[in-house]
Amino acid sequence: MASVPSRAALLQLYSNTLRTSKSFSSYNFRNYFIRRTRDTFKSIQNEQDPDKLTRFYDEASKELEVLRRAALINGMYGGQKLVVEREGAVRLRGDT
């Protein structure tokens, strides 16, 4: 098993996952993965247990790979605008 992830490594993983989440073309998927990424990384912010941190890091890294592929495919086939998006980005960007 890999050694305990450093704080910098976790932050790096967080920003990569967030960036990938933002790259989904479909409004609903994009917003979900942004919300979920923030949620999950916040939940381990104060985690001290090295075992839990390691497990979290491994799982989140695997998930990042999944999201990267999924976002690419989503960009190829999805992403037609929804009526909420047309109303103005201002309203949506509140949670971004």
Binding site: Y27, N28, R36, K81, V83, V84
Partner: protein, 482 residues
């Protein structure tokens, strides 16, 4: 060996070069063919007309609606935006993570999971076994108890007809409820044609059955009690644990639950709830359409007569090659659902609250149908003095349903709402708001705004509403005299 293959490669490349240059010599981007050499085959006007008719003319069953042909839709910015999807009980979007798990099995790993003699079969079988484990984990079952099917409709048919027909020599009675999904009711109707007795339990005004009535309905010749977990129109949750305890007291009576709308959304444990048979659907839990599962308890063993006979796959209960890719998608959807259930539930609860508060703050005479403690992702509201269908027609920017997907095409009021005791006009004026994992707060705010505006506009046009405003009690009017 090595040198031979290299030299062959060189020769082949050489040939290819020659071939392509000779083609380019004749035609390239900068040398258009001269008019005399251009040859267009005239297919004749009749053929063209035929093609146009086949491809673009509205069919008779499209009721005059036209098909918007929008190839490459997302690239042009002036296209119509897609409506907001609030119909999660009809179907849910496929989670992108599920699609990612499926794609390898639509490309290189296409083996038949039942092939025992080569790696293609083994890898597919291994993935199917993993999927089976994920489905089992979500409902507290053993993986050997899971039978893959084409969906909840097939699972319901298999469980209800299967158990009844297997025990038909000694037992001829089935109990179900009035608010079940059409496929359960129709399976029961078929069995009553075959000579079985079916009791359709009524529900209380909140949509929940009475446990006393259930207990009283069980007879010595009852073989099956089939009661759904979460209702697809109202979100009402039946007390599965209490029902399971009652059914377990009676030897030889099996408990089946249609959990298509429940699995992955609320906690289900087949042992704690004494469930003997259960139906699961893939496309209600962010998985693919066309796949589902049946839980069939092995200890104590539930015996049933299979509907589909053949090669003996799935313990002989459902023969036919497993659609491994779909099964893997269902498994991944279940794995994610187990992981995300708490977060999804909290999210959907907050959205439901927001929707109900937002609408009732600005519209009067709104009634919520069904038990408010049901599944929050399904909110069924009746807007008095407004016709549900006209409301739907006016709400072009929201994809909603006025009832279950299968009955929404008819103009009959929902039988589920009627069973709850809703008056016909209230059943007519209901809308079902189905929210899920991917629904956002901004969408709920948008929909709330549209609903408020539309309901108020429709009411302003309604003579009934005018009378209500003047204090006339509409229900006291004898319409037949007019």
């Amino acid at each position: 060996m090595l040198s031979r293959s290299i030299s062959r490669q060189v020769v082949r490349n050489h040939i290819r070069c020659v071939a392509s240059t000779s083609v380019e010599f004749r035609r390239s981007f900068v040398s258009p063919s001269s008019t005399d050499r251009a040859s267009v085959t005239d297919v004749g006007p009749a053929v063209v007309r035929q093609i146009q008719e086949d491809m673009f003319a509205p069919r008779a069953d499209m009721l005059g609606f036209k098909l918007d042909v929008q190839p490459q839709a997302k690239n042009s910015s002036d296209l119509k935006a897609r409506p907001i999807y609030l119909d999660m009980q009809a179907t849910t979007p496929l989670d992108p993570r599920v699609l990612d798990a499926m794609l390898p099995y639509y490309t290189d790993m296409y083996g038949n999971p039942h092939s025992r003699t080569h790696a293609y079969g083994w890898e597919a079988e291994k993935a199917v076994d993993e999927a089976r484990q994920y489905v089992a984990d979500l409902i507290g079952a053993d993986q050997k108890d899971i039978v893959f099917t084409s969906g909840a409709t097939e699972s319901n048919n298999m469980a209800i007809k299967g158990v009844a027909r297997f025990h038909k020599e000694k037992k001829r009675h089935i109990i179900t409820t009035q608010t079940e999904h059409k496929c359960v009711l129709d399976s029961c109707r078929k069995l009553s044609e075959e000579g079985f007795d079916v009791t359709y339990l009524p529900v209380q005004p909140n949509g929940v059955i009475s446990l006393h009535e259930l207990e009283a309905a069980i007879r010595p010749d009852t073989c099956l009690v089939s009661i759904m977990a979460v209702n697809n129109e109202t979100g009402v949750i039946q007390p599965l644990k209490e029902i399971g305890a009652i059914v377990r007291k009676h030897r030889g009576v099996y408990f089946h639950t249609d959990a298509a709308q429940a699995v992955g959304k609320i906690n289900i444990d087949v042992d704690a709830m004494n469930i003997d048979l259960m139906s699961i659907s893939g496309h209600k839990i962010y998985g693919p359409k066309g796949v589902g599962a049946a839980y069939v308890r092995r200890r104590p063993r539930v015996r049933l007569e299979p509907i589909i006979n053949g090669g003996g796959q799935e313990r002989g209960l459902r023969s036919g090659t497993l659609p491994s890719t779909l099964v893997i998608g269902l498994g991944e959807a279940c794995r994610i659902a187990k992981h995300e259930m708490a977060r999804d539930h909290a999210h959907v609860s907050a959205l439901a609250d927001r929707l109900i508060k937002g609408i009732s703050a600005k519209v009067d005479h709104v009634v919520r149908n069904g038990d408010p403690n049901g599944y929050p992702g399904c909110v069924n509201l009746s807007f008095a003095y407004v016709e549900g269908e006209s409301l739907l027609m006016a709400l072009k920017e929201v994809a909603l349903s006025s009832g279950s997907a299968c009955t929404s095409a008819s103009l009959e009021p929902s039988y589920v709402l009627r069973a709850l005791g809703a008056a016909e006009d209230m059943a007519h004026s209901s809308l079902r708001f189905g929210m899920g994992r991917f629904t956002t707060e901004a969408e709920i705010d948008f929909v709330t705004e549209k609903i408020v505006a539309t309901v108020n506009r429709l009411r302003d046009m309604s003579p009934l509403w005018e009378m209500v405003q003047e204090g006339i009690d509409i229900s006291s009017i004898d319409w037949s005299q007019h």
